[in-house]
């Protein structure tokens, strides 16, 4: 009895402590198991992300995209479509929908191309390149994209290893596990309870504990995966950057192949690693830069040294200003790519 009381009290006191001294970002993830073995956003949801720095409403459409409108698979005539693959950065965590870099890029593209542009944002928080490839194969290509934009984040190589969805064997990308649904079943079950939804959206202690435990588990799993991959590295393709990147590069090759099969072009966005308000680091290996079209906003970020480009009291997503800079860099590159594209990929 005493132990139960102590456990409850620790939770209560922990909640009070965090509210007083270290308010936590509350960024609930409304995801569920998708049809092709990976998690997808729950459709038609409205929820709120709260941190000490911002409060943002997240709204998903009938296919789980972060959008105010629903999109059909058929592309309307005269419309350019950009399919976005990414994680929480791609989804636009931290900013209102109209401030996301994808939406800002859309407005700039419409202005520069003089055409209507639709953003098919298939990003899901927590995704790595492996899940992005599957999302493109099963969903993205069905929207007849003109451009596929993939947001590359520093965590992607570890995410790719951890998911176990693909591996590189004898120099070729092969499918391994049929599914990767980390905690999704439990999450779906828990989200069926109103009290849990309330905790996820309001309890600082719960959110802190989940993030803390999650990051530790991720570290251990990444370490174990790396050990396994290293053990099998005799017959795997090793790039100059090491075995971690060989899988990611093979996945990007596959994304490019799918994109080209769909008659679209692929553009990668490097999301710089923030060290401080004045220092940003690249996170992409050189081989990827060499082989793909990459947009990196680092130089422009450095011109804005001292400005708040990433939120600092949450999970470090872009601020509206950060999104604006990214959108500017992307729109410039995307305009060139879309303008030179042949007309046969125009809408049906």
């Amino acid at each position: 009895m005493l132990l139960v009381f102590m456990a409850l009290w620790i939770c209560f006191a922990g909640e009070m402590f965090l509210r007083a001294f270290d308010p936590q970002p509350m960024l609930p993830r409304y995801v569920q198991a998708g049809d092709f073995g990976i998690r997808v956003n729950m459709p038609n949801q409205v929820y709120v992300h709260k941190t000490p720095e911002y409060r943002v409403e997240i709204r998903t459409n009938n296919r789980g995209m972060r959008a105010n409108v629903d999109y059909t698979y058929e592309k309307p005539a005269g419309v350019k479509r950009v399919v976005v693959l990414g994680d929480s950065f791609g989804m636009g965590y931290g900013v209102k929908l109209e401030d996301t870099f994808t939406e800002q890029m859309r407005r700039k593209l419409e202005s520069s191309l003089g055409k209507k542009v639709e953003i098919i944002n298939l990003s899901v928080s927590g995704y790595g390149t492996a899940e992005e490839l599957l999302m493109l194969q099963h969903e993205g290509v069905r929207y007849h994209p003109d451009l596929v934009l993939l947001a590359w984040h520093a965590t992607d190589p570890d995410d790719n290893l951890r998911s176990g969805l693909f591996a590189v064997e004898h120099g070729k990308l092969v499918r391994r596990n049929a599914t990767y649904l980390p905690g999704v079943k439990i999450r779906e079950y828990l989200f069926s309870f109103a009290i849990y939804r309330w905790l996820a959206g309001n309890s600082h202690f719960y959110n802190w504990l989940r993030d803390f435990a999650g990051s530790k588990i991720k570290q251990v799993m990444a370490t174990m995966k790396r050990t396994k991959v290293d053990s099998a590295s005799n017959d795997s393709v090793s790039s100059k950057e090491g075995p971690d990147y060989s899988l990611s590069i093979a996945l990007l090759d596959a994304v490019k192949l799918e994109t080209e099969k769909a008659g679209a072009k692929l553009l990668l966005l490097e999301i710089p690693v923030r060290v401080s308000r004045t220092e940003y680091l690249p996170c992409m290996p050189e081989e990827i830069r060499r082989r793909f079209d990459v947009v990196s906003p680092i130089k422009v970020f450095q011109q804005h040294a001292g400005s708040l480009l990433y939120w600092e009291k949450s999970h470090g997503h872009f601020t509206p200003l950060g999104c604006e800079i990214v959108a500017g860099s992307l729109a410039e590159a995307a305009t060139k790519m879309l303008a030179t594209q042949s007309g046969n990929s125009e809408g049906i």
């Binding site: 102590m6 009290w9 620790i10 006191a13 922990g14 402590f17 965090l18 001294f21 270290d22 802190w208 803390f212 370490t223 174990m224 995966k225 790396r226 050990t227 396994k228 290293d230 053990s231």
Partner: protein, 557 residues
């Protein structure tokens, strides 16, 4: 290995488990502690372990000669063998050619054997060690024939000279060489070009040198018997919890604990040990490291200051930075001591208290009875009292106080700011003594005491300014700004808020410690109150700890 690292946590758990598996067996336990301590120290730089071994062997041998006038053949063989084996193990191999890598849980070790033993410097040190051992052993018969008084005096001088030579060379050579060069330039217009050497300061050298010196001096004074067992003595000199930043233990207090079996800690020992570790980590990671950001931001322009810099206007910000530094250095150093004491407690050892609420001091004497007690009592017992203490005229007492504090300042580091700091502390002691101010005497009204504390805290902070400043100009600019330009910019208030945010709990806790006169008031509190204090401290460590991973300030001393 830093106390605040994961490496240390793993190291501690492994050593602690092995140690208590060996319970009831003194020699294996001491051997384990010795090996663990050398591993702990060698984590920084293996080569400098040899300095500890030299100190150990010299003082072990000298103390035996002082105490007994002779040294058994087996003890001589052990000491000689230990020295030579250490030279072979720590100095001869070039450990930079050993590559230890891990990917995930997969470990790999690569050694370039051809280069491992190729460095000539290591072999030279080994050859010198062989010659030294041969001379010592060949000369033993002649030394033994000396009369007792000469023998005692000769070996205490040998011990002190050996220890101070090592300390002087590694810590002060460049300082004195620089000063000599500057003087030579000023007086004769000549700058010697050869004067400085590329010397690395071994971590904690001042701490273990003073500790081992106190042992031989105590043996010389017949206050302590010389240790017969080399393992016990070597483990005492290198005991890892207090090896690199104290407390500077005395042989009288710590050595006997190595000479008998330690009791298995009971629940209260474990509780207190864990609390001291958690509290020390809290002081270091939550308070000291976070306040370091405020301090370093404010001091940064002055640290790199060039001549002709202008006086800043924001005196209040500089004052807040000084207060923040007072808290930072206290939490950094006392935090280390707490972790050291807590760790030692888990091994069944009892280390001395090094801090007793120093910022509650009303005068400088009281401050030095509360701050870095192990150093101040060392200076008192081995410097101030031998100089004559307060037994002579007032003038002689002032001289002795000033000299002691001057050397105390120099102990902290080879820099003129430390010398000035020492002189300042000496001056404070002399002035308070001359004015007959003793705020701790019974019957003093409480409000007067509080006022005296507040006033003396300001004087302490001026001392910390001298201590922290990288150059003399910084001191004058700070004082000028604080006293003549006491404005408060928005940044000053933000800094003040940061200081209170991180330090409020420490302040409250210390007021309780002071009011109850108990450094461990937790022991008397209801379990529910203790639970909440633990929750606060653990949650602070998990959420507010700075991720900057700074070294402890006193490692550099």
């Amino acid at each position: 290995m830093l106390f605040t690292s994961i490496d240390f946590a793993v190291f501690l758990v492994v050593v602690l488990a092995a140690y208590w598996l060996l319970r009831g067996r003194l020699t294996p336990q001491n051997l384990l502690l010795l090996a663990a301590s050398y591993f702990f120290y060698g984590y920084w730089d293996v080569r400098f372990l040899y300095l500890i071994v030299i100190s150990t062997v010299v003082d072990y041998s000298c103390a035996q000669m002082i105490d007994r006038g002779s040294m058994a053949l087996t003890d001589r063989i052990k000491a000689s063998g230990f020295l030579l084996a250490s030279a072979l193990l720590f100095v001869v191999p070039d450990y930079s050619v050993v590559q230890f890598e891990h990917s995930g849980f997969q470990l790999s070790l690569q050694v370039v054997w051809a280069q491992m033993f190729a460095q000539t410097f290591g072999w030279k040190v080994f050859a010198a060690s062989v010659i030294a051992v041969m001379i010592a052993n060949l000369g033993y018969a002649r030394l033994q024939k000396l009369d007792e008084a000469h023998k005692r005096k000769g070996f205490i001088i040998a011990s002190v000279v050996a220890n101070l030579s090592i300390l002087g060379f590694f810590k002060y050579f460049n300082f004195f060489a620089d000063s000599f060069s500057a003087m030579s330039q000023t007086l004769f217009g000549i700058t010697p070009e050869w004067y400085t050497l590329d010397i690395i300061l071994p971590v904690g050298i001042s701490f273990y040198t003073f500790q081992t010196m106190s042992y031989t001096i105590d043996v010389y004074r017949r206050e302590l018997k010389a240790s017969k067992r080399l393992i016990d003595f070597a483990a005492y000199v290198s005991f890892f919890p207090q090896l690199v930043a104290g407390p500077i233990e005395r042989g009288k207090h710590l050595l006997p604990q190595f000479q008998k079996l330690r009791p298995v800690p009971v629940r209260d020992d474990v509780r207190e040990g864990c609390w001291l570790i958690a509290w020390g980590l809290f002081k270091k990671l939550v308070i000291a490291d976070n306040l370091a950001l405020v301090v370093n931001q404010t001091f940064a322009p002055f640290d790199q200051m060039v001549a002709g810099a202008t006086t800043p206007e924001d005196g209040l910000r500089l004052l807040v930075a000084l207060y923040a530094f007072a808290l930072q250095i206290y939490c950094d150093f006392s935090g280390y001591t707490d972790i050291a004491r807590g760790t030692a407690r888990l091994f069944g050892f009892n280390l001395m208290i090094n801090f007793r609420l120093p910022y509650f001091a009303t005068d400088p004497s009281s401050f030095w009875r509360r701050w870095h007690i192990s150093l101040s009592t060392w200076l008192r017992d081995y410097l101030y009292i031998p100089l004559g203490g307060n037994r002579g005229t007032s003038l002689m007492t002032y001289r002795n106080l000033s000299l002691t504090m001057l050397l105390g300042g120099l102990w902290h580091g080879a820099s003129w700011t430390f010398v000035i700091w020492g002189a300042y502390q000496g001056a404070l002691l002399c002035i308070y003594r001359a004015l007959g101010i003793d705020g701790e005497r019974a019957g003093f009204p409480a409000w007067k005491k509080v006022l005296m504390m507040l006033f003396f805290f300001q004087l302490t902070c001026i001392g910390w300014l001298i201590f922290r400043a990288q150059n003399v100009e910084t001191i004058s600019i700070f004082l000028d700004s604080i006293f003549l330009h006491p404005f408060g910019s928005e940044q000053a208030w933000l800094d003040l808020k940061t200081v209170f945010f991180y330090a409020w709990f420490l302040m409250l806790f210390q007021v309780i410690q002071y009011r109850t006169g108990n450094l461990n008031p937790m022991a008397n509190w209801h379990w529910f109150v203790r639970l909440n204090v633990w929750i606060y401290v653990i949650m602070s460590l998990l959420t507010l700890a700075s991720s900057s991973g700074r070294e402890f300030i006193y490692f550099a001393f």
